[in-house]
């Protein structure tokens, strides 16, 4: 009996194999170029990056296994805690400045009888400007001395000029204001699309039941929006956590490291100081934190899309 099945199986195997091959060939052929690209450009670099972070490197060639040495070097670096703290400061400020504003604006905008299109277009305008140009524009707005627009406005109001990006306490919120300015319109439009999906009969029913403005807001609007709000929230946390370009252009991490982020430190290790081991180890540390955040995103996304 046993023998028999074995014989059958081995006899059937090539034809099953051929069948699978035939059925899957077109799909695999179409997937092949993308898979090659993803392996070369995305997946392999991640794996190599994680592996090499445990090695001493000469250029980019591993010359000896060093265990967690690179990680210890990175974490015990005098600036690491400060940088990590800064990165979370960006995230927290972006939650304070950049998160509630688009939501509230979307709710207000949805109530407008006229001018919707104007508001939509004008608020999305910053979103189409290249990131670099946004940074440079805001750099001139925040310009020190008489040349900056904000200082000019202060002067018009007969107030003394202020220091902006050069002030270590202000620099992170100021950069976050700029980032929120750029991302504002995109988030707003997402919220608007979701708001338009609210069933108007719910409001009607609530009104008949005597629900006031705030009751309608908290019992109908917020529950309907909670999915998209959570998605935007987590996405924002993940993307702000990786911020690199903005501090690089605006302040190069200054003043005195006050706006340095994990992403920028990583970039500096790699392309300014040529310390590849440190860059890789820091990348892995950031990666682990991101994985944690991504798991949350994944769970939320599943919940919301189902």
């Amino acid at each position: 009996m046993k023998n028999n099945t074995k014989k059958q199986f081995s006899g059937a195997f090539p034809s099953v194999f051929k069948k699978t091959l035939k059925r899957n060939m077109p799909g695999w052929t179409l997937l092949l170029p993308s898979i090659v690209l993803f392996i070369v450009i995305v997946w392999r670099p991640i794996i190599v990056g994680v592996l090499y972070s445990f090695f001493k490197l000469n250029g980019f060639h591993p010359v000896g296994f060093v265990g967690f040495d690179n990680f210890i070097k990175v974490i015990t670096d005098s600036n690491f805690i400060k940088t990590l703290f800064n990165t979370f400061k960006y995230v927290i400020w972006s939650l304070i400045i950049g998160f509630p504003l688009p939501l509230l604006t979307a709710v207000m905008l949805n109530e407008m009888l006229a001018g919707k299109q104007y508001f939509k277009i004008s608020t999305y305008l910053p979103g189409i400007i290249p990131g670099i140009a946004v940074c440079l524009i805001w750099k001139t707005l925040y310009g020190e001395g008489d040349g900056g627009l904000l200082n000019m406005l202060l002067a018009k109001l007969n107030m003394g000029s202020a220091t902006w990006l050069a002030d270590g306490n202000k620099v992170i919120p100021l950069i976050v204001v700029m980032m929120s300015w750029q991302g504002f319109g995109g988030t707003l439009i997402m919220y608007l699309a979701s708001l338009q999906g609210i069933n108007q009969e719910l409001y009607e029913a609530a009104r008949i039941d005597g629900a006031g403005f705030f009751k309608r807001f908290t019992h109908i609007l917020l529950p309907h929006m909670s999915g998209i709000i959570l998605l935007v929230l987590v996405r924002q946390i993940i993307s702000v956590f990786q911020v690199t370009e903005q501090p690089l252009i605006m302040t190069d991490g200054g003043p005195n490291g006050a706006s340095l982020t994990l992403g920028l430190t990583n970039w500096r290790y790699a392309f300014k100081f040529g310390q590849y081991e440190k860059s890789l180890a820091l990348g892995v540390v950031a990666f682990l934190i991101l994985i944690g955040l991504s798991i949350i995103y994944h769970i939320l996304d599943k919940k919301i899309n189902d």
Partner: protein
């Protein structure tokens, strides 16, 4: 204002009969005006500063609204920086990246959505995770490009655009919505899979291709990090040139502003033509994640 016609939303006509809701409405309107001004003023500031004559720029105190206009600043800045060259570079970058973006991600999304060969689920999971994690592999990827001889060439940037997990998902979600019956019918008629893709799927996919195109073009126009790392002075696109101009000494402030204006104009023009599609695309990606 036709308050009595407002039948939808959080506040409707019956609320708006009361004074406090009217007040609330106009307060919200005022806040929105204020917000839209904040969005527009920095951009207007660039436009104004770019045509402000030199002496007003350096006067103490400088003028916010210029007393006279000097359009020569634009011309001088363009010639001084030889901006045409960088525009051409940007154009080459965008064109190649666009082709790769639409082609590779499109066929990948198609295979994952419609052909579903063995391993689809695995690839989907991998794609989902890579969508979220981008910054980690900078050094190894740079080394890969160095090894492959890509430094100083556009093709690494093009290929990078060709593996965008986010756009693969966008395509896949769209293809999922095409009725399977079309494809079955074509199969019965004896069309090959390749022909089905080009003759039936592509014409149906114009909307999603438009969205990906707009995203691709605007992303490449502002792409900075990788062009900065990979391309030499003769091939850098506009965004990188902007970064370099910022630290260059011999360019006047108003010329800097003029150059910023040049970098804003192309996306602004695109926006004028496609604002509906762009906004549709944004909300589409937002909801589908």
């Amino acid at each position: 204002m036709k308050f009595n016609e407002k039948t939808d939303g959080l506040i409707n006509f019956s609320d708006l009969k009361k004074t406090r809701f009217k007040l609330l409405y106009w307060t919200m309107f005022a806040i929105l005006i204020f917000i839209s001004l904040i969005c527009i003023i920095p951009i207007l500031w660039v436009v104004i500063s770019a045509i402000k004559p030199m002496d007003e720029m350096y006067r103490v105190p400088p003028t916010i609204i210029p007393e006279s206009l000097d359009f020569n600043v634009l011309k001088n800045a363009w010639q001084k920086v030889q901006f045409g060259k960088y525009f051409l570079n940007s154009f080459i970058l965008i064109a190649g990246a666009w082709v790769c973006d639409v082609f590779f991600n499109g066929i990948c999304g198609y295979a994952l959505s419609r052909l579903k060969p063995k391993g689809t689920n695995l690839i989907m999971t991998l794609l989902f995770w890579t969508m979220l994690i981008s910054g980690i592999s900078m050094v190894p990827l740079y080394e890969t490009f160095v090894t492959l001889g890509g430094v100083g060439h556009f093709w690494p940037l093009w290929l990078q655009a060709g593996c965008n997990a986010f756009n693969v998902m966008l395509f896949r979600n769209f293809f999922n919505s095409i009725p399977m019956a079309y494809i079955e019918a074509a199969r019965i008629d004896g069309l090959s899979e390749i022909k089905i893709f080009f003759k039936i799927i592509v014409p149906l996919s114009i909307p999603v291709i438009m969205v990906v195109t707009i995203f691709s073009v605007s992303h490449q126009w502002s792409n900075f990090m990788w062009p900065y790392l990979l391309l030499g002075e003769d091939k850098i696109p506009v965004a990188v040139k902007l970064f370099m101009i910022d630290s260059s000494e011999n360019i006047m402030d108003n010329e800097k502003m003029a150059i910023m204006l040049f970098s804003i104009l192309p996306p602004a023009i695109m926006y004028c033509f496609f604002s509906k599609r762009i906004m549709g695309g944004v909300s589409m990606t937002g909801i589908k994640g």
